[in-house]
């Protein structure tokens, strides 16, 4: 295994385990529990026409499953399936039983939606409490949540997780970095929760304000929502003088809380009593050997409102099953090392090039020739969308041209939820490709070479 541990104290740091019974269950018991829950899940899915038809077609019922590995008999679910079932076709409970609806970004302007019952929310809070505690959150702490709150799941899971632990939440939400730093300086939070790149922005901004970022009260960071590297971890830990922990999750199966690191920081512990995770070759859909990279496919065993059967995450990672020094028995996953589709994660927001295209189509006269350039000039992702100028949209008046840029930028924000710089470029200056056009130039370095 190539994941290195920088933190010298990591071997000695020992945090309590939030739910020892669930997190240190002997493997045979865990697998028996998974099988039981998988069978229950298959029975529950009989209420969802989309799943029922497929299961009937394959003649699969709870009885067909004799071990968790039998999950391979079951059909996959994809993002497209969710989109086709808009808005809530995959619901397994009556609508009245829903306590919450969140969205996740879709490949077009329409997000896909996920729903939660009150019990799902309880489970979610609990799963977040588990990884927060495994990375050092204690009831006496104050935690600043600098993730966005809203339709996307980012901030909420962690907010409720902190609340569950009994620590103090500062729901700072995303943005206004100077204000974040003032709050931090004044209210003494020990824990920071945001995307890893935002942690570096906070450090940069603190220096700009003439402050030493290492002197900020933060001691622990829980970072997720976008891919990052071990180099970035070292940077963050060095610049802010904190311990930085990684966590993973996606709205489609619950949000943050699928997995998170322990002080050993040798991969993220998957909450296997709630998620059955496979690692498959994206081409053949056969399992890869342990420790080899493959696409994560996740089944949410306990979700009531909207269970996911073998959801294809398109995230590439590796699984490690040997026991961990921390005492947890759960399988660990590596950092996400890439995608099997063209989705980009920009400042923690999932963006598909097709969304940018859709935004351009909303502005009359723009051509389909565009290029998305993603870079990280200092710490924050920056997106430039280059759009070719065209006689229909060109004006000799500067104010009109600037209004055009703003209009395109606004449409991109509406459709994709990100702020992009729009660069108008001369005709034919964007390279034409035969066959599939290259729409994205990603200049960021987001994956560990060693992985």
């Amino acid at each position: 295994m190539s994941v290195s541990i920088r933190h010298s104290a990591a071997t000695t740091v020992r945090y309590p385990i939030w739910d020892p019974e669930a997190e240190t269950r002997p493997r045979p018991e865990l697998e028996a529990l998974q099988l039981e829950r998988l069978r229950e899940l298959v029975s529950r899915l009989a209420t969802v026409p989309f799943y029922r038809d497929q299961l009937t077609h394959r003649d699969i019922g709870p009885h067909s499953l004799r071990s968790p590995a039998d999950i391979r008999k079951l059909p996959f679910t994809t993002k497209d399936d969710m989109r086709r079932q808009h808005p809530l076709g995959l619901l397994a409970v009556p609508r009245k039983a829903l306590a919450r609806i969140h969205g996740s970004s879709g490949t077009t302007g329409k997000p896909t939606f996920v729903a939660y019952t009150a019990r799902d929310l309880e489970t979610w809070s609990d799963l977040c409490a588990r990884f927060l505690v495994s990375g050092g959150l204690a009831p006496e702490h104050t935690a600043q949540v600098a993730f966005g709150y809203g339709l996307f799941t980012g901030g909420f899971g962690l907010h409720y997780g902190i609340e569950r632990v009994g620590a103090t939440v500062i729901p700072a939400a995303a943005g206004n970095t100077r204000r974040q730093i003032e709050i931090m300086r004044d209210l003494d939070p020990e824990v920071l929760i945001c995307t890893p790149s935002y942690a570096l922005t906070i450090a940069d901004t603190a220096r700009e304000l003439g402050m030493d970022p290492r002197a900020l009260p933060i001691r622990i960071g829980h970072f997720g929502g976008e891919p990052w590297t071990e180099d970035m971890r070292r940077e963050i830990e060095e610049q802010l003088d904190i311990d930085a922990y990684n966590n993973y999750g996606l709205s489609e199966v619950i949000g943050p809380g699928v997995s998170g690191e322990c002080p050993a920081r040798a991969g993220m512990h998957i909450q296997e009593d709630h998620f059955l995770v496979e690692c498959l070759d994206p081409e053949t859909l056969e399992p890869v050997a342990e420790g080899e990279p493959g696409e994560l496919v996740i089944t949410s065993l306990t979700r009531e409102a909207m269970p996911m059967l073998r959801y294809r995450t398109r995230d590439i990672a590796r699984l490690y099953r040997e026991p961990c020094a921390c005492g947890r028995t759960t399988t660990r996953m590596s950092r996400v090392a890439g995608r099997t589709d063209d989705m980009l994660i920009i400042r923690g927001v999932n963006v598909f090039p097709s969304q940018i295209e859709e935004a351009l189509l909303r502005v009359e006269g723009t051509t389909p020739h565009y290029l998305i350039e993603v870079s990280r000039p200092s710490t924050l992702d920056e997106v430039h969308v280059k759009v070719e100028i065209h006689p229909e949209i060109f004006s000799d008046r500067m104010d009109r041209m600037q209004a055009l840029c703003e209009r395109i930028s606004r449409e991109i924000h509406t459709v994709a939820g990100i702020r992009a710089h729009v660069d108008l470029v001369e005709p034919r200056s964007i390279e034409r490709f035969v066959g599939k056009a290259k729409r994205v130039l990603d200049k960021r370095d987001l994956t560990d070479q060693a992985l």
């Binding site: 100028i389 060109f394 500067m398 470029v425």
Partner: protein, 145 residues
């Protein structure tokens, strides 16, 4: 009385301004005046040339996005107060100027103002009524030949 002005979209990076000017120079087309408005990212080059239709064709063939705009040229004595007087007249008539630029002719005492109006026809009427000298295309060319 209206003049045809060409405007070009240019990216704001080194060397972009030279290329279109060379392209029309190569065809022997004379530039009477030009103005450049720019932001950090792009610019709009506005040109008054002798043979605007030919210039437009040349530029378009070379791949530029070119617009044609009707502008109004006003001849003022190149002395203090000339511009202020003209602007006062326009303001009094409630005429909206989208933008303007000026140039002086070396051999005389003339200063030419180029105006882009929302309503150029009404502007010309007002200017003529107030006794100002609106310059048409042929006359403008005669100043520089």
């Amino acid at each position: 009385m209206k003049l045809q002005q060409l405007s070009l979209f240019l990216e704001n990076r080194p060397g972009r301004l030279g290329a279109p000017l060379e392209a029309i120079a190569a065809e022997g087309i004379n530039i009477l005046t030009l103005s450049l408005a720019d932001t950090a990212q792009f610019g709009i080059l506005r040109l008054i040339v002798r043979e605007w239709d030919k210039a437009k064709r040349v530029l378009e063939e070379a791949g530029w996005v070119v617009n044609l705009t009707e502008v109004v040229a006003v001849d003022l004595l190149d002395r203090p107060g000339g511009l202020a007087q003209a602007l006062k007249i326009l303001e009094g008539a409630n005429l909206n100027i989208e933008y303007m630029y000026a140039f002086s002719l070396r051999r005389g005492d003339k200063a030419i103002l180029i105006f882009r109006f929302e309503d150029p026809d009404r502007a010309i009427q007002v200017l003529l009524d107030k006794g100002l000298h609106v310059v048409d295309g042929d006359e403008l060319m005669s100043f520089v030949s």
